[in-house]
Symmetry: C2
Subunit: 592 residues, 2 copies
């Protein structure tokens, strides 16, 4: 078989090319034998072009064409001519190619599912045959869009004087939060590298090296139990800057985001983005990453019910940070008992002991807890939550953060169950959440842990709290939230050795542990570290949002399943014992 190389792609020919001798390469998308005419649609990533064979004129070609099946790879040589029946749905629809010669370059078995936009195949089958799945125009578009995102990123940061750097993948294991993936060292048996959860310390070291604007598109790794939108390896647009203030980072990130949305979707994003504190976010929306495309705000009613005779309220309020708050589910007074039970079950997943509700219909209140409340209390609750006839109030009672988290989860669930979420499809909301708490107390580990990471600087106003009330100290953090997803996150970092030591202290690291894990950072901080901070975008998340999907695997070429399997190549897999022996490790007997 002689291979004839294409002169044009399958998305390229127009009426102006009529009369030209051309060669196409591609996959047989479909083929139809109409007796007097044989049609072959040839496909590549650029489009589809119709080729036609005239059996009367070319009986040998027609005979050979009978072998052709879908997904065969062919070259076709011929002359471009105007079509009798134009197809206005595709850019090449005005022309066809009259075939003068062709060959089958490669054959295909019948694919296990149809290569089409609306394939019915399940995801497992599609992931196993990822190369067939990716031939679908729908996925092709997503990866062409992801490519645009890469190019916009390269350009934007280069234009803003950032230097691209690569940080290592074989790094030191310093788990603080998520689990590390480990890599045994063959040369230094008994020692391990870790795959980086982020290049955090390396980018800080680059700041200390005098490179004041760093960026990298980089793989990060977390050995966590996966959720639908998480992957064991994921990609960050990682950014760090020196000699700046938090506002500089936010502005840079806003302009980048606006550029991406504009160039990829033609969507105009207004900047600057709204900025809310963590505290405001929690009390208004019950989440540190609320979807602000819709309202459904929360209302705290602790003050209203603080003297209530209702023991569920009074008992909870007697405890530390006891809070009563509610979500006004506008117009949901017609929710059935079953729906309310489902919402209660949903709330329990987030730690709720139960869920109180209150309906307003025909000027009357309908609620299992009405009998425990005074008329004044009910009137105040109604007024505080701007409730009107037809509304449903969902009331949670718990410690402050959990109370709002429960209501925030219900807020999302109510949006899903009503037409609200559907009605905002295709729109975008961008906002910052700032001033997260620096620390949170882990009951499990019986110590403070860093809410962001232990290299985050406290707010200047709150440094004095590190000694008196560390849990009250706020951090100089910033999370970018788009449609309820954390699209980026970062902070101003600690650049003083003494503050970093204090921070390690606070999270319960002994001097020795701090030295063993982070000694190189503490040393580096002794030699003139500049003030610095940064941000990291979740590139997969951005791609997912831009593509309008909520399945992150649709925008990753070779994704893993939620149990961290690659179905196409079948990894992870067993290895031969010689490999393990070389590495100085052995499998451990399963512990019961």
């Amino acid at each position: 078989m002689i291979f004839r190389k294409r002169t044009h792609t399958n998305g390229e020919l127009r009426i102006e090319n009529s009369g030209e001798k051309i060669v196409l390469n591609g996959w047989v998308n479909s083929h139809r034998n109409m007796g007097g005419l044989m049609f072959i649609d040839v496909r590549d990533r650029y489009g589809i072009t119709q080729a036609v064979i005239l059996p009367d004129v070319s009986p040998e070609l027609a005979e050979k064409a009978k072998e052709i099946r879908s997904e065969f790879v062919v070259w076709i040589a011929g002359t471009v001519r105007e079509r009798e029946n134009p197809n206005k749905n595709i850019p090449t629809g005005l022309i066809e190619v009259l075939v003068e010669d062709f060959e089958i370059i490669n054959r295909s078995e019948v694919p296990p599912f149809e290569i089409s936009t609306d394939t019915q195949a399940n995801e497992e089958l599609r992931l196993t045959y990822r190369y067939l799945d990716m031939r679908r125009p729908e996925l092709q578009k997503k990866f062409i869009m992801r490519n645009q995102l890469y190019q916009i990123t390269h350009q934007y940061f280069a234009q803003n004087n950032f230097l691209e750097f690569e940080t290592p993948i074989l790094t030191k294991s310093t788990p603080e939060g998520a689990r590390d993936y480990l890599v045994p060292s063959r040369v230094h048996k008994g020692n391990f590298y870790a795959l980086p959860q982020s290049p955090q310390l390396y980018k800080q070291i680059l700041m200390m090296s005098g490179f004041d604007r760093y960026m990298q598109i980089v793989k990060c790794f977390r050995d966590e139990d996966l959720r639908a939108d998480r992957q064991p390896e994921f990609t960050q647009i990682d950014v760090e800057m020196s000699f700046i203030e938090q506002d500089d980072i936010l502005t840079l990130a806003e302009n980048f985001t606006a550029k991406a949305w504009k160039e990829i979707l033609g969507y105009e994003v207004a900047t600057p983005f709204k900025r809310m504190t963590f505290h405001e976010c929690m009390t208004r929306y019950g989440s540190d990453k609320p979807d602000l495309r819709y309202g459904l705000e929360l209302t705290e009613i602790t003050e209203i019910v603080k003297n209530s005779g209702f023991t569920v309220f009074s008992n909870a309020l007697a405890k530390k940070d006891g809070t009563v708050a509610l979500l006004n589910a506008k117009g949901c007074a017609d929710f059935s008992r079953k729906q309310l039970d489902e919402l209660t079950e949903y709330a329990k997943k987030y730690g709720a002991g139960g869920l109180a509700w209150m309906k307003f219909t025909d000027g009357a209140v309908n609620s299992p807890i009405a009998k425990f409340l005074t008329e004044d209390e009910i009137a105040s609750i109604k007024s505080a939550s701007n409730a009107v006839d037809g509304d449903l109030l969902l009331i949670a009672v718990d410690e402050w953060e959990r109370c709002f988290t429960i209501l925030g989860a219900l807020r999302t669930e109510v949006a899903r169950r009503t037409s609200i979420l559907e009605s905002v499809k295709g729109t975008f909301s961008f906002h910052w959440v700032v001033e997260f708490p620096l620390l949170e107390y882990s009951e499990e580990e019986n110590r403070y842990i860093a809410r962001h990471h232990p290299f985050t600087a406290p707010m200047a106003d709150d440094v004095h709290l590190l000694d008196s009330a560390p849990e009250k100290a706020r951090a100089q953090t910033h999370d970018l939230v788009i449609n309820g997803y954390e699209a980026a996150g970062g902070s101003i970092r600690i650049h003083q050795n003494s503050v970093q030591q204090r921070m390690f202290d606070l999270i319960g690291l002994t001097k020795e542990e701090a030295e063993q894990k982070f000694g190189f950072l503490l040393t580096a901080l002794k030699f003139g570290a500049p003030p610095h901070g940064g941000i990291a975008f979740g590139l997969d998340r951005l791609a997912m949002l831009l593509a309008g999907t909520d399945n992150i695997r649709e925008v990753i070429a070779f994704p893993k399943t939620t149990s961290a399997l690659s179905l196409m190549d079948g990894c992870p897999s067993e290895v031969v014992d010689e490999q393990l022996r070389n590495l100085g490790i052995a499998l451990r007997a399963v512990e019961k």
Copy 2:
């Protein structure tokens, strides 16, 4: 301390800025107290600016400035003015900043070595304090150059319609050649991921997915014993194309290389590059990656001495592929006996049994083997090698490939020992080596192994040899050699299932092994794979060549030593047993 953000960088101010009020941020590069004047040179990645304090005018500032030491981080506010004593060596040398206020942002201990271009510190110390090493202008320039290389790469491939893709880092272990780094799976205990030695199969799968032009700047991993110019993790510019011929890849790579050399160094590279077959390369230069900046070609003299009475020759020639060849070390007849002994020792490292030599001086021959040769033989050798008075011939006798490899090594060594290598410094030579053997026989493994990798297509003319004489079959490979370094390598790949199966056969994989390791590739090849091929550039090597260094660690931000250690952060390191238990592995007792 109030932080005042810079209005300008330290490389930016010119005489035109005189009279402006500005703020600078940076490191104290040096400071001099001249009594009536105090000078502080402030440094950042953009340059150095001189600041001056007048103790008479600002006694408080002068007092505070006494605290200043090298590498302190400062902000300085003041007014730009013309210098009395201009420094013509730096772009900011015409001005200085009269300090009106300043603060020490951060302090520095005395650095363990001097932050200057010509630091005398050894590499180990510099790698331990990498952040100080990287503040040196020399290293800053290298990383700014490396950044240029990234940007040129992004632009070039985007302009040529390539799509950027990310392939996984957690992949399947299929060792064929170098050892894999393994990553134990926690979720699937007893199973392992491998870090990719290259994204070879993924990029081929992308071709089968219909994306006809792929590129990625990607980390690859090889757990090999390191040589000076190798790293356990290294970076490739990875490229693959469908519906092309080998020439298309070569042209693309030539234009990319020429663009990089032109834009970064202003160096004009003539294209197309010279193309030589592996066979020609070996017989003329004794290497598959010869440095062609200089001549020193080899001469085969097997025919001349084939009937020689010299038993060393005749015995060797009686064996399979026995070959006698020589290097004419022009003008080296004055090499001493000691130097010749050293060259003999050097040749032995490459497997030589010994080394014969022959000097021509004053019309006479001087050689320990002259007495075993006829006058005719000596005259023919002299004539074949174009030897004249003053030349030294180094003669090797061995099996064909080893004979030439020994001479190729000597060729490089002679260039190093004479003025030849020094004389070509700063120049570049670019050429292709094509038509490598498809297979080579491994005595150790007692089987054929793929010389490039087992996905490489044989040359169309040689497919018939796969059955009759596989060791003679040539492959459709291409290596780009720059100054004796393999800067890029690639091939046309097998796109037919049957040929791929045959190839696995030839390298001794059973059907079961082939299925277990590469089953997904064999399956993918059944569904219409397009003809395709590609190339991968060693990005670190390109950066090294562009930077004019032969130490690859100088162009990698956080390199590992030759024993795969990171001296800065001290990885690999021990981990706690809980981490290993979570992963289902244990350390193996050391085997004696």
